[in-house]
Each structure stands twice: as structure tokens, then as C-alpha cells.
Amino acid sequence: MSLSGIPLDPQIKSEKEREGKGKIFYASTPSHAPIPLLGPYLSKIPILFLNGLAYLYVLFCLLIFVMPFGVTLWYSLLTRGRSPKLTLANYQYVFGSFLDSLLLSSRVSLVTLLFNFLIVIPAAYALVRYEFKGKRFVLTLLNVPLYSPAIILGIGLLLIYHFTYGLYNSFWGLCFGMIVGTFPLMLMPVMVALKDLDKVYEEAALCLGASPLYTFFKVTLPLIGPGISAGIILNFVIVWNEFLVTLFIAGPDYITAPLKVYNQILWFGYQNTTAALAATLQIISFLALMVYFKLFGSRFLKGRFF
């Protein structure tokens, strides 16, 4: 559970998804319907009441989730001072003095995603399409970053960067820290996509005389495209918001956007301009995830191997 607040999908599936299209529907009462208590008529009122309470509770919890973001957004739209007015002026700072951090964040995300792509695709291909000894072990090893807390990754990398690699306070050090923490999250959707892909297509291409490489680039890669883009979006959101590992390994010269938020709070307190930056970062991540859900639902988040 590393770097990531892994958007381990809360796996909430809509009713339709859950039932599945080709499944048998039970003729009796579906399990989620209110179950009569004493008799269909007498019981109506308490059940309505209970349902109402349940609704309210769920809505209340959801409200609590959104409130911190909502308040941040609200403050980012206010001017400073005793009688705050609505303004967009704070966002000038986001694209003014905070722009460097945003650009650095984008650069780190871009490099990380590129490397993840290059690393994950061959690895996933090997893990799904080949049988070899020690496969389980390799898969476990590759998944360890997911389960090591960010702070452990941070301190470990800090020590080794400081004393051996000399990567502390460097762009590449930052990127490698991100890559190792996030590539398992990309591995998962790509492996699911490869598993779902029938071997027939590749075999057909091979039979028709295409070389293995040609087959891979012209047949396999396009067909697992959705899995790859799913992985990329997930990764983007995590790298974009990564803070704790960055705090340890970034050094003074590489202030990414979340680190900028942190530094601003530490040095200048809670400013509305910082709120604007935080709100912008959250909006970007939220939009990315909305695109993800629109395109893929939770298809690539489940899936067990072996």
C-alpha cells in the first residue's frame, strides 16, 4: 500500500454490473429489497423510516468526504482580509509563482508514466504468457512496493540515495522513487487485459508469417490498449499527488506541487493562494479519475492471479 493511496477501487459496482448480463435472475425477492417485517402493509412505515435513516447516513458520510475539498475550494475563491469577497485572483498564483512546481510535477509524472509503460508491458507479458519457475515469487516481489508504506519507501530511498547512489536532490532520483512505488499498480490492469485477451489472435498472426515482434506491436499491443490506458490514468493520479516519498527524497531543489502545498503551509500558514493550488491539484486528479471510470468502470481493478 505504498506511495499510493491506491485508488483501490472501493469496488462498488452498480446493480446492473453486479448481476451481470448473462446471469440467471432469481425469481424470488432480490436480496437487497426491503424484507417485510410483520406483513406487507403494516411494515411499510417502519421500513420507509429505516430506509430514510440509511439514506441520510450514507449521504452524511459522503458529505464528510467532500467537505474538506469543498472548503478548500471555497477558501481558494475568497480574498484575504476581514470581509472576504469572491475572486479568482488566487488562481493567478497557481499559474504564476506555483507554475514551476506544477511543471515539475507534470514532468515527473510524464517520465514516470513512460518508464512504467516500458517496464510493465514486457513484465506483464512474461508473467501471463510464459510458464517458468519462480513465477509466484517474482509476482510477489513485484508487488512488494504496493504493500510497503510510503514512509518506509521514503526513508529507505533517502538512506541509499544519500550514501550510495548519490541521487538525493536530483530529478532522476525523484522519478525512480515514483516508478518503483507505482509500477505494480500498472502491472495489475495490464495483466488483467492480457489474461482476457485470447491467444488465438497472436497465434493467427504468427501462422500467417508475422514475426513475434511484429505480432506484438500490431496485434497484442493495440488489443490490450484499454488495460494500458487504465494503468496510466491510475498511475498518473498517484504520482501527481504523491507527497510523503517526495518529502524524503526530493531535496530542496525539486519541489513538486504537493510538496509546494506542504512547504507553503509550513512557512506561511494557511493561505488562500495555497488553497487554490491544492484545489487545482485535486480537480485535475478528480477529472482524470472520472475519465477512468467513464472509460473502464472497475473492470481492471479486480482480478486475481493464480
Binding site: 500500500m1 493511496g5 469496488q11 424484507i35 439514506y55 510464459y130 516481489l141 518506509i152 550514501f163
Partner: protein, 281 residues
């Protein structure tokens, strides 16, 4: 028939394909963790200069830093309990009654962006003259004691890990065979009985997995105690680690503190994966 050389070549292919990923993991994860272990047994930052091996760090850990470890574990436990108490009904209602599941899924994303934004937002919420204060005052909550207190830290941590709990319980709920409930219904069991005899026992593993996951996750919490806690709540392992490593340059002690988190959270995660039965693979 393939020749021997070709067969060997074929056999090498997966290993060549896996090489970059494995190299990366070894270089940037396995070795750093190994260093962490080694360094926790060396004095100060002597590991790379004179290599003075000592147990002093651990001695200090269990004398001066015992309170720190206790606070960390207490905060993580408390937030996991809050998660369980609030998360179970949430997951249950969401699963069985709430029709707008897509909306719920979309809104539950926000805590997953990280504790930093959450702490930032909660600070504004808890501010004595903030947005919520008139409402809270009417409810009889002392607005002045809200920010920088134990309760705000626990609440923040609980919100941060709430989605993990919900995900685990939801998976457990979805895995219950509806036939069981129907059978119970046909045999005349009441709603409460169905819940207590079927739903609750069958979701126990999900609850345990969620609890352990929340606990393990919050052991490494950094920004929420820092921004929402008072002096007492800021005495957690992660903040101490940061101070020892980057402010005091006492890498040995920092590594030893890291070992505590590592051992605790790896074991907890291992257990939770056993219980979650693939809820979050």
C-alpha cells in the same frame, strides 16, 4: 524439432522480459529496505564511514521513544476502530439501500488523493471561525478545542482510510450468496435475525481485513498528525523519523524507528491480505 540452443533461448525469454522490472525493484526497493535494516544497527550515521555496529538505537527506541510508539499505535488503532464503527453501516446501507452507487464511488475518491489535502481541508473546517463553526456551536461542540486535538487527528486518519474499510466490507457483502438470505426469509427469520446470523458472520473476514488495513496504513501517517494534532499528537513515529533523518542527521535512530513501522505494517498487511481474500488485489 527445435535445437537445444533454440530451446534455451526460448526459456530465457521471460527472464529477459522481466529483467527491467526486477532490476528496478531490487535496486530501489529491496536494497533500500536492506540498508534500512543494516543502518538501524549502526551508530548515528556511521554506516558508511566507520561502521560502528551497536544496539543503542533500539535501546533508545524502547526507552525514550516508547511513548512515541504508543501514541502512533494508539492513534492508528483508534482511527481503525472509528472506521469500523462508521464504515460497516455505511458499506451495508450503500450495498443494500443506496441507489446512487456511482455518485458514492465518485465522492469516495477524494480521501484517496492523500492526507495532505485532507488535512488542509479539515483545518479550514475545524477553524474556530470557519465554515462549520456556527453549526457545531449549535450542536454543543466546543469549537475552540476542535482543531489541534486528539479527536481531530483521529477523525482525519479515519476519513483517510475509510475507503479501504468500505472496499473490504463491500467485497465481503457481495460475496454472500443471496440464496442464503432467501432461504432464511422463507423459513421465517426476521430481518434482524438474518443480519445477525448470516450477514454479520459472513462479513467478519472483510471487517478484520479492513481493520488491519486501516491500522497498517495509519501507522505511517505523517501529515495529518502534523497539521491537525497538538504537540502530543505530533509525537508519532513518522514525524520523529523525518526529524531524526533530515534535521538531526541521526540516520541510525531514524532507521530504527522505520523498522518499527516496517515490521508492524508488513505483518499487519500480510494478515489483512490473508483475510481479505483478494478483495484488493
Amino acid at each position: 524439432m527445435k535445437s537445444g540452443a533454440q530451446r534455451i533461448k526460448q526459456r530465457c525469454v521471460p527472464f529477459v522480459l522481466l529483467l527491467p522490472a526486477v532490476t528496478l525493484t531490487v535496486l530501489f526497493l529491496v536494497l533500500p529496505l536492506f540498508y534500512l535494516v543494516m543502518m538501524s544497527f549502526t551508530e548515528g550515521s556511521s554506516f558508511f564511514f566507520e561502521q560502528k555496529f551497536t544496539l543503542d538505537n533500539y535501546r533508545e527506541l524502547f526507552s525514550r521513544y516508547r511513548a512515541v510508539i504508543q501514541t502512533t499505535v494508539f492513534l492508528a488503532l483508534a482511527s481503525a476502530i472509528v472506521d469500523l464503527l462508521l464504515g460497516y453501516p455505511f458499506a451495508y446501507f450503500l450495498y443494500s439501500r443506496f441507489p446512487y452507487k456511482d455518485l458514492a464511488r465518485a465522492l469516495m475518491i477524494f480521501p484517496l488523493f492523500g492526507g495532505l489535502y485532507l488535512a488542509f481541508g479539515l483545518y479550514y473546517l475545524f477553524l474556530p471561525k470557519g465554515v462549520l463553526s456556527p453549526l457545531l456551536e449549535r450542536l454543543g461542540i466546543n469549537v475552540l478545542s476542535l482543531l489541534y486535538s486528539k479527536s481531530s487527528v483521529i477523525l482525519g486518519m479515519a476519513i483517510l482510510t475509510f475507503p479501504f474499510m468500505v472496499a473490504n466490507i463491500m467485497t465481503a457483502l457481495q460475496n454472500i450468496d443471496p440464496i442464503l438470505k432467501e432461504a432464511a426469509l422463507c423459513l421465517g427469520a426476521s430481518r434482524f435475525r438474518i443480519f445477525s446470523r448470516i450477514t454479520l458472520p459472513l462479513t467478519r473476514s472483510g471487517m478484520v481485513a479492513g481493520f488491519l488495513m486501516c491500522f497498517g496504513w495509519n501507522l505511517g501517517a505523517y501529515e495529518i498528525p502534523l497539521f491537525l494534532g497538538s504537540q502530543a499528537e505530533q509525537q508519532v513515529v513518522s514525524i520523529k523519523m523525518y526529524q531524526q533523518a533530515l534535521v538531526m542527521s541521526n540516520y541510525g535512530l531514524s532507521a530504527a524507528l522505520g523498522m518499527v513501522v516496517m515490521v508492524l505494517s508488513f505483518s499487519v498487511t500480510y494478515l489483512s491480505l490473508k483475510f481479505s481474500k483478494g478483495a484488493l488485489t
